[in-house]
Symmetry: D2
Subunit: 338 residues, 4 copies
């Protein structure tokens, strides 16, 4: 595990680590990866070969490492192409590696980001291996400009691994916003929901396993019954079961993904993945990362009317009306509602 990860120990980390040697994970002891998988990863990380391509040492440092997300998920950077210099090089269609001076690169990258010149950012590519609940995968897949290979439940059997939210993320339905969370559930209410989720998930997996009627070697568990086709049996699993995929995209589309999914309006569960990925972006293309925060993530789009309101305020005018949209603008500008 890399340093950055050790610094933010997850509540379940201890349990996870001790359980890594087990082959069939006990769902009561959340496990992200098995010991065999951990060995494969270590073997990958141990290999080093020379290359003429640009390399990014800060990203190489965490290459292949699973960065923990939610109770059993992860994000791993599997491969990458390009660095900050590759953005500059593409913008100039140059023969060499782009400028050597960081200050010039920074200036150009800021310029490109500010003016939405997106194509140079498309010249960098990154590939992730992600383990995520199916309902998160269903939101994620809506981003169409990426390459995806998902673990096939038509072909293979899914593990008994499902997402159970940490208590601090169990929230009531928001009352103002139909699409959001309100207060965190507490005490008995939280326990009731967690029990229900866990019991129904376990029952769903039990039904799935019974219909498959197959042990790990493919032999029938109960020879008295035929096994149902995998492509049918999977429909009994609920949307909190974990799936996995390889997901590859270019930096421009990654930033589009992050701008929507690392945003406070995104559902917490996908935001947790986006935040882990934002950290990998910082390691990979630090100049683009700073520009992205400045001109996209932490910027605001002000409507035509909003700009007029600001102009009038700056001119010292009093504005009495307070439409809803304007209140949002005032919040953006750090102003109290009158």
């Amino acid at each position: 595990m890399v340093d950055g990860i050790r610094e933010k120990p997850h509540p379940e980390e201890t349990a996870k680590r001790s359980s890594r040697r087990m082959h069939r994970p006990d769902p009561a002891l959340p496990t992200r990866i098995t010991a065999a998988q951990q060995d494969e990863i270590a073997a990958e990380r141990g290999v080093s070969t020379p290359t003429r391509r640009v390399t990014v040492p800060a990203l190489e440092e965490i290459l292949y490492e699973p960065l923990p997300v939610l109770d059993r998920g992860f994000v791993r950077v599997i491969d990458y192409m390009g660095d900050d210099g590759a953005i500059v090089q593409a913008a100039r269609v140059s023969y060499g590696r782009g400028t050597r001076r960081v200050s010039e690169d920074r200036g150009l990258i800021n310029y490109l980001m500010r003016h939405r010149h997106t194509t140079p950012f498309e010249m960098c590519e990154i590939k992730y291996h992600v383990k995520l609940p199916i309902f998160v995968a269903r939101q994620w897949i809506r981003h169409r400009t990426a390459n995806v290979n998902e673990y096939s439940a038509r072909y293979s059997i899914l593990d008994n691994e499902f997402y159970i939210p940490a208590p601090e993320h169990l929230a009531a339905q928001a009352t103002i916003n139909r699409q959001g969370r309100g207060d965190v559930l507490e005490g008995a209410a939280a326990r009731r929901v967690l029990d229900l989720l866990r019991e129904d998930s376990e029952r769903a997996y039990a039904g799935y396993a019974a219909m498959l009627n197959e042990d790990e070697a493919g032999a029938p568990l109960d020879p008295a019954w035929p096994g149902l086709a995998r492509e049918l049996a999977r429909m009994n699993l609920s949307l909190n079961f974990y799936t996995q995929w390889y997901w590859k995209t270019d930096l421009h589309n990654l930033m589009h993904f992050l701008s929507l999914r690392a945003d406070p309006h995104a559902q917490y569960e996908i935001r947790a993945y986006a935040e882990a990925m934002l950290g990998t972006m910082q390691r990979w293309v630090p100049l683009a990362h700073v520009a992205f925060l400045e001109y996209r993530m932490n910027a605001a789009s002000i409507s035509a009317t909003g700009l007029q309101v600001i102009r009038r305020l700056l001119a010292g005018e009093q504005i009495d009306q307070a439409p809803r949209e304007w209140r949002e603008l005032m919040a953006t500008l750090g102003r109290q509602d009158p």
Copy 2:
């Protein structure tokens, strides 16, 4: 309902029709659409306005009508742009409506299909409203070159509607092909699976409803408990629950979808949708439909080695070797395995 549909009555049709007046469908009596929805559709169908655009009477005939698929799903054509003539017109970049003589249009469309000139087919567009189980939606969404708006379970509450296969589609895992179905389950084995699927689905919905704790008017069912956020509660539903979306694509990408999903290797459940859509394509662009069957659906790609084998066979040579791939070729050519 249009004629083509009445001709193939579905086992559950009778139950469905009688239950259309019910507001909350009883899952034991599968319902595709409510009476209110049926009224909205009838109202849509009743409106006719003049247009200068090309129209396709055979497709207009079924416009907005739900074509039944699976036990509760449907496909409805909501809108379309272009016809066979629009393909011809785009290929020629013409000022008028393309040729008037059907024989010339047919010849050009066949030529374009045969030589994979795909861009003229992109000039026709179609929009569907589809109701489908989530596990089918997960396969379907992998076709990235389409526009999609899905019913949001973050925002709204899903109905208690889940897919239960008809007995003739309950099949054992294939033994040769890891990704397919073998023999149909019969008698007690089938009943056991159907009971299990139904019970688990009902329990999943009960858990979902209990966590939401909300009646149709949005008031709490049990005021003693808070309602869980919809975006969290939905994770308790299993993959056979129905969702809905608007799906819009161009004819080229529709044919790509159909060539993969109306294929015998596709999972039955998505194939059922593809076949209903193939029927709509026949109404919409009959010349392109015939060319599609001839040069895509019922054509075969023969490898370099396969072509050599055919050449040797045609030259009267005996071929003793029988690699697996060659057996497939012989099947394609209607030859017995020696």
Copy 3:
């Protein structure tokens, strides 16, 4: 011709109209379309058929009509799918046509535009026939999410039609901005450039015609020489020659195109097309058009630092520093440079 077009007569309009009957246009008398093409268009416009689809009378009014752009180019709306209501309908995944009350539709469309919920806008589609100079086509084609069929100069012979800028658009290289125009050329300087462009274009076409060595019936002009393949001869034409294409896109991607190409930073020649298309958008989806102007075209993205500056100004602070970026912000806010 529709009214809106007659109101803005183009300098060359008179010449153009009188020359429409000619078959081979004299390049000195710019012609947009021939009499035969005009007849085909009139025939198209004369046909009206009933449809159950949504129709937009304001757009039907100009359907197929060439809207003049530059000296010989045009944009024609050939087909469309959907209207403002289709955006609403898709956002709700509804069974009927969406709300009937304009005020509700407007509110939802504004909300979707403001929060960048882009998929409902993808449910509307439009198809144009465009005649444009090749150097404009080269910028335009960079928008990848569209369907295109271009007139093929491999297959057919291009007409002797090239773009010569109107004198008011002949500008010197900008000195501050490397990518822009400065002062308009005047008098002898302008005449010199116009003569040079016209002479070189005529010579390029003469060389093209000589190499093709083919009359309109395909017979050799000079039987002593063979004709060069069209796919080779075309390389002698310069980038101001006109080409044509069918271009089809959805409303979301159209707005993206317009936000970049109707912008003052875009090159004048492509902006002229974008402005004509913005007019067609207003006819087609008037509510989305208003929302687009408010939240996209006339809105501004303010960076994280820019937002802080505004907050400090609103708090009455004096800001002495004036970095370049901040000057742009002050211009956006209607403030004088200190």
Copy 4:
């Protein structure tokens, strides 16, 4: 220069090499890259850093090297991601590097290619720097699923470099196929075309330079005249002038590009690029390359009717009819026309 390139000396190679030291290339002495560019490339090639990513030594060998195409063009591999093993790894969504045994990888890659499982091939990415005539760029850009950054003639001044076909590629218009080449031009006819192309190109550049009125330092050549904006002056250049771009795509889309552009029906000039790129694919993913030749490039799609004809022929039937399409089939099968 790598060996493969030295082995196939181009007619103009000698001239090119001796002229590399020149700064402003004389168009009579074709130059691909300047001495300064050559130095930048050599500097790039000299750098080697360790990486944990997969590397492909055979591709590293030619990394950054310009592979000559046409008289002044080139293709350079600038970066790549993945190898044959990455295809396997993605198909299996595995934790490690995929199988180690080449025979298993080969079998799976053949299977994926044969059954058009395209997504695993999307997991490999390659980036090229290409110098190419504008008319070739116009065909190339039609492949939309790639990332492109082109040298901007709005911002910079294009060099005086244009494509003149080698005499063996100067062909007459085909008489049977409207879209193709017939006999090669010879003697005076060829000289006449070459002279015309060269003179018109030189004149086009002279006009461009005169309108720009700018020396290399940006100072006016003739202070009596203003310089025309670059974005306008460029329209005087003809379609055989060279442009440059960075072009990045995934392996699946590269193969789609190659299957269309390395095909004998493609125009020679773009085919020359495709063939150079096919060579880079062989170095990069040798197993996928073999599968691609077997199942795509050298395979044939046989229509439904074609399959029936083959079945009847194999059954010993005589077939008297000989429609055009069937003649093509017989040619595919190596049979004489009866």
